[in-house]
């Protein structure tokens, strides 16, 4: 006996949650995409602190280099972590066509993956934070500051991940998606990753002034070092917003191109 079942209209949130659920269920099957970034971040966190703590704290009075370095480690861990490679595989395996054959909202296919990315990025910050706590970092902004810290890190992760989605949807090529990693280096290293801006050489100070990650690091550091600082947090949010506006525009344009029945 075969039951006569008919499709029912679904909403945007239903579709998005369904796609996000699939993306999250895929994470444990693909741990190689999330574990190495965290291990690398923790490794450099510990090594950098061990290498530079004495030097920096000895030359800057009252400076907490471990707290200063923790946001760098967090950004190192969450930047570039996304399901964009999985989207490429969906294109290559034809599974994207399977999704497109259903009534699912096209936007939900992308947003669902992004929701999963935010959840994953938030989770990835936790072990790095724990290492920070073990190394003696305390948040001046309190528990709420920790929460804001995680949200900002996840938001940055999403803003950066959108570049990967744009390339994934535009090209359907895994090698091209890997190339989005090239953005990682100028964003994360032409800035105050290791020492305060004032300690950078003049040319690097000028470059860092144009790098949005500089302001994101300032915002995150303020939560640990000085408590909630409205100006720093607002500037950090603005920096994330500017990058996200650019990356999301590219990303949604690539989605439209991929699903427009070209």
């Amino acid at each position: 006996m075969i039951t006569a079942v008919r499709p029912r209209p679904t909403g945007f949130f239903h579709d998005t949650a369904t796609i996000a659920g699939r993306a999250l269920r895929a994470v444990p099957k693909d741990l190689s995409a999330v574990v190495p970034p965290v291990l690398i971040a923790v490794f450099f966190f510990v090594v950098n602190v061990a290498t530079l703590k004495g030097l920096t704290e000895g030359s800057i009075s009252g400076f907490d280099y471990t707290a200063f370095q923790m946001p760098t480690a967090i950004l190192l861990g969450v930047t570039g972590v996304s399901r964009a490679p999985a989207v490429v595989l969906d294109v290559q395996d034809g599974y994207l066509d399977r999704l497109l054959l259903t009534p699912v909202r096209r936007l939900s296919i992308l947003v669902g993956h992004m929701v999963a990315d935010v959840v994953v990025a938030a989770c990835l910050t936790v072990p790095i934070l724990l290492v920070g706590f073990i190394l003696g970092v305390r948040f001046a902004a309190g528990p709420l500051g920790v929460l804001v810290f995680i949200v900002m890190a996840a938001a940055w992760s999403l803003a950066f991940a959108a570049f990967g989605y744009a390339i994934a949807l535009k090209t359907g090529n895994p090698a091209a998606v890997q190339s989005s990693f090239l953005l990682f280096f100028p964003f994360l290293f032409l800035t105050s990753s290791y020492v305060p801006r004032e300690q950078l050489t003049p040319w690097l100070q000028r470059v860092a002034a144009w790098n949005p990650v500089t302001y994101i690091l300032d915002g995150l550091r303020s939560l640990a070092l000085t408590g909630r600082q409205g100006r720093e947090l607002a500037t950090a949010a603005l920096a994330i917003g500017i990058v996200a506006t650019l990356s999301m525009a590219m990303c949604f344009r690539a989605l439209a191109g991929r699903v427009k029945q070209a």
């Binding site: 075969i2 039951t3 079942v5 395996d93 054959l101 009534p103 070209a262």
Partner: protein, 358 residues
């Protein structure tokens, strides 16, 4: 169902295309396609690789926009109402469209969720589908461990998460072994008979179209070159032929065979007689009896009936051949013992045949 559906009947037409075209740059993959498929019909879309079959399916499934013309599927325009079309169709595309890291169950559950089903509904449906496509215990294994045949069946199952009005199967048995192929055929027949599902099936396998389809459309270079019931199409290219190989006085054999009822012509070529008959299966016995009464020694008696490949050859000058790219007739030596090959005595012109099958 052997006649085209009446477009005027309410809800009688499941698929209708008018002047449907799709260009890629300067190449016309589909060029002014007109066709109509009735509800509950199995329509075979037959042609070799690269003639526009998959492009047509992708347009019907809303994955590809037509460059010109219109297409209606399940009563909705594919270009203007794609969401409505998607809620009424299922499709198994030429390449299986699966996520190898999911299990079969995960994939089907996700499909069910996207169609708005509740968890209990999905659970019930999974049990039915597992039975319908005979995939059983494998559902809980990762798809990457499946054989090619199992992936095909799961892909079909994904297209059947709900009961679509129209099911598109784009070369569903390409690459399958003969046993798996026959199982897919059984499933297609069962879906059509049990659920009354309209099935649009593209294939390059002559036997598949012949066996499954109520009507066949033959496509070449993006254009429909013939359409009709397989039997009608085959009849349009000539009669059955009994080929007699013999030793001895062929003249007496010609006279004897020529007197058998149902024989229309007898042609002698060297040590062979080509006996054109109206009904080969019914006439081959009397022909053998007639030959036994002569002084010739019968070496071989073969019945050849026209095939859809002969139809394609007549209409395009090329053969489809079984499962491979089209081949020019000049490059296609015919095995004398092959019952499914060789055009026989064409008695009508190409345009006359087109008229006959339309």
């Amino acid at each position: 169902m052997t006649t085209p559906p009446s477009p005027s009947g309410p809800g009688a037409v499941a698929i209708a295309a008018s002047g449907l075209s799709r260009r890629f740059g300067t190449t016309a993959a589909v060029d002014g396609l007109d066709l109509s498929v009735g509800r509950g019909e199995i329509y075979g879309f037959l042609g070799p690789n690269g003639v526009g079959k998959s492009t047509t399916v992708r347009m019907f499934c809303t994955l590809l926009a037509p460059s010109a013309g219109t297409a209606m599927v399940a009563g909705h325009d594919v270009a203007r109402e794609p969401d409505a079309v998607r809620s009424r169709i299922g499709a198994a595309l030429q390449e299986v469209a699966l996520d190898p890291k999911q299990t079969g169950t995960e994939l089907l559950r996700l499909q069910g969720r996207l169609y708005g089903f509740t968890r209990p509904e999905i659970a019930d449906r999974l049990r039915e589908i597992a039975d319908l496509v005979d995939i059983g215990d494998a559902l809980d294994r990762p798809i990457q461990t499946y054989s090619g045949g199992m992936k095909r069946r799961l892909d079909l199952a994904a297209a059947l998460v709900y009961n679509p009005d129209v099911l598109f199967l784009d070369e569903p048995t390409t690459g399958l072994d003969p046993v798996s192929r026959r199982r897919v055929w059984e499933e297609v027949r069962r879906l059509n008979q049990q659920l009354g599902m309209t099935i649009f099936l593209t294939t390059q396998y002559l036997e598949e179209a012949d066996t499954l389809a109520d009507r066949v459309g033959i496509i070449d270079a993006g254009r429909l070159v013939a359409e009709g019931a397989p039997a009608d199409l085959k009849r349009s290219v000539g009669q059955d032929v009994i080929i007699v190989r013999l030793d001895g006085d062929a003249a007496s054999a010609v006279d004897a065979v020529g007197r058998v009822p149902g024989v229309t012509t007898v042609e002698r070529r060297h040590d062979e007689l080509f006996v054109s008959v109206e009904n080969g299966a019914a006439t081959i016995g009397p022909v053998a009896v007639a030959l036994a009464g002569t002084e010739v020694a019968l070496r071989d008696l073969t019945l050849r009936t026209p095939t859809l490949d002969d139809v394609f050859l007549e209409l395009t000058g090329s053969r489809i051949q079984n499962g491979d790219s089209r081949t020019d007739e000049s490059d296609s030596p015919v095995d004398a013992t092959d019952l499914t090959a060789t055009p026989t005595h064409p008695t009508t012109t190409r345009s006359e045949k087109m008229e006959a099958v339309r």
